[in-house]
């Protein structure tokens, strides 16, 4: 699915500069704990999160995340956006909640890129 389609499906607004919207997104991952993201996410996913600090962008950079979506209408910190511009990772903001965003994208055919973990 293209980033463009995702933006439409979730009523998103692009927060970063020079964002290429025809990037191919292979799937999604939703989490607010960055360690969970680092543990479970597969490359080229869109990361859905309610956390808006620069660490989200660093996490995305490390985990080869293709785009970040901030849910619940959260505005990213200016330093988060500037880091994302620098690293070339698109940030999208949506007024929708996490469950709604996941649901809409999943129904539209975007698969999960979260690894299942067996910790016990």
């Amino acid at each position: 699915m293209k980033l463009n389609d995702i933006i439409q499906i979730i009523d998103g607004t692009v927060c970063t500069e020079g964002t290429t919207q025809d990037v191919e997104i292979r799937g999604g991952c939703g989490a607010d704990l960055m360690s969970d993201v680092l543990t479970s996410i597969q490359p080229h996913a869109v990361l859905l999160t309610g956390l808006v600090n620069p660490q989200v962008v660093r996490t995305a950079d490390m985990a080869d995340v293709s785009a970040i979506v901030f849910v619940r209408g959260k505005c990213p910190h200016p330093e988060t956006v500037s880091l994302a511009n620098q690293e070339g990772i698109p940030i999208i903001s949506t007024p929708l909640g996490m469950f709604e965003v996941c649901g809409r994208l999943y129904s539209a055919g975007l698969p999960s890129l979260e690894n299942e973990l067996n910790l016990i």
Binding site: S35, T39, L51, Q55
Partner: protein, 332 residues
């Protein structure tokens, strides 16, 4: 844009550049390449002044504007008509063309302008905005320049992307060569947190590490870097040693140390404060995650003294970094 001749042989490389130019024609907007503040005429101006202006500015026509609206256009043909009639004192309004004026919208992509250029065989077009006001002029030259600028940017990006230090060890003869990167990590520096990891990952990619290796190292060292920021008393040091067949990453600090090392390695065990958790960390997944990403993890710690975390990733011959000879064996 003219389609390439059918008979011409088009190599793979040519085909790529053609499609990129064509693609750019659909991407670049008219107002990105048009000239702004174009030379304009007013309807009351004398044709003799038009003649003078066209000669002085080396142009073959100009739009006629009345209160910022485009109302007509004067071309060389119109001027010749006035010359033949020896009527150069007449106002522009008398000779200007007012019907079927060809224009292009500022927000259109340049392919729209190119279509008009080739269909009507004109060399320049007035550009109007959504209110119908004249905002600029566009010529084929403007479009060519715009496309060339964009190709140049593409090329520079490609150059940067291609620049790899992957031959680093090739010309250096030793029994064992390695590259060592060191980073000082400050306690509590959340804003710059991950900076070192980002640089390490980038360095590995430039040294020729594949995406998977770079990602594993990146994630492991990022968790370790955040641990130094979150848990230490004074911060610590990250040291990465890169060898063609092995990457050794160390995160070392001098306190406070871990009371129960085995417990700390368990998934979900955390001593982090709520403040740290609000920042998305402290889920107790750090060491567990590092262990998953690297081939060998060694954690040594003593309360009051400090912690030393060593992470090793072994590279298969085809994954080796900084030494292309390693890939191909005996190369001449």
């Amino acid at each position: 844009m003219d389609s390439p001749s059918q008979t011409r042989h088009i190599s793979e490389e040519n085909a790529q550049s053609i499609s990129r130019v064509e693609e750019l024609a659909y991407v670049i907007r008219v107002d990105e390449v048009m000239s702004r503040d174009p030379k304009v005429l007013s309807p009351s101006m004398a044709m003799s002044d038009v003649l003078e202006m066209l000669r002085r500015d080396h142009i073959s026509g100009a739009p006629v504007v009345f209160s910022s609206d485009l109302i007509g256009i004067i071309s060389l043909e119109d001027l010749i008509r006035a010359l033949v009639a020896k009527d150069l004192d007449a106002p522009v309004s008398q000779y200007m063309t007012t019907t079927n004026i060809l224009t292009v919208h500022a927000s259109d992509t340049v392919v729209e302008a190119l279509k008009i250029f080739s269909k009507y065989n004109v060399g320049r077009l007035p550009v109007i905005n959504e209110n119908g006001s004249l905002t600029g002029m566009i010529t084929k030259g403007d479009i060519t320049r715009g496309i060339l600028n964009n190709l140049q940017k593409d090329f520079q990006r490609e150059e940067v992307r291609r620049y790899r230090a992957s031959h680093l060890f090739e010309d250096i003869i030793s029994d064992r060569s390695s590259l060592i990167l060191r980073y000082n990590i400050k306690k509590g520096d959340f804003t710059r947190g991950g900076n070192a990891s980002s640089n390490i990952k980038r360095a590995l990619v430039r040294l020729g590490a594949n995406q998977q290796i770079a990602r594993r190292c990146g994630i492991a060292i990022y968790e370790a870097e955040m641990n130094l920021i979150i848990h230490t008393t004074k911060g610590g040091i990250i040291r990465v040693e890169i060898e063609p067949h092995k990457i050794t990453m160390r995160a070392v600090d001098d306190g406070p140390g871990i009371v129960n090392v085995e417990l700390a390695k368990q998934a979900g065990y955390s001593t982090a404060t709520d403040e740290i958790r609000e920042m998305g960390f402290g889920a107790g997944m750090g060491l567990f995650n590092i262990n998953r990403c690297v081939d060998k993890m060694t954690l040594e710690s003593e309360p009051g003294k400090g912690t030393r975390l060593e992470m090793k990733i072994y590279l298969q011959p085809e994954e080796s970094v900084g030494d292309t000879s390693y890939h191909y064996g005996d190369r001449t």
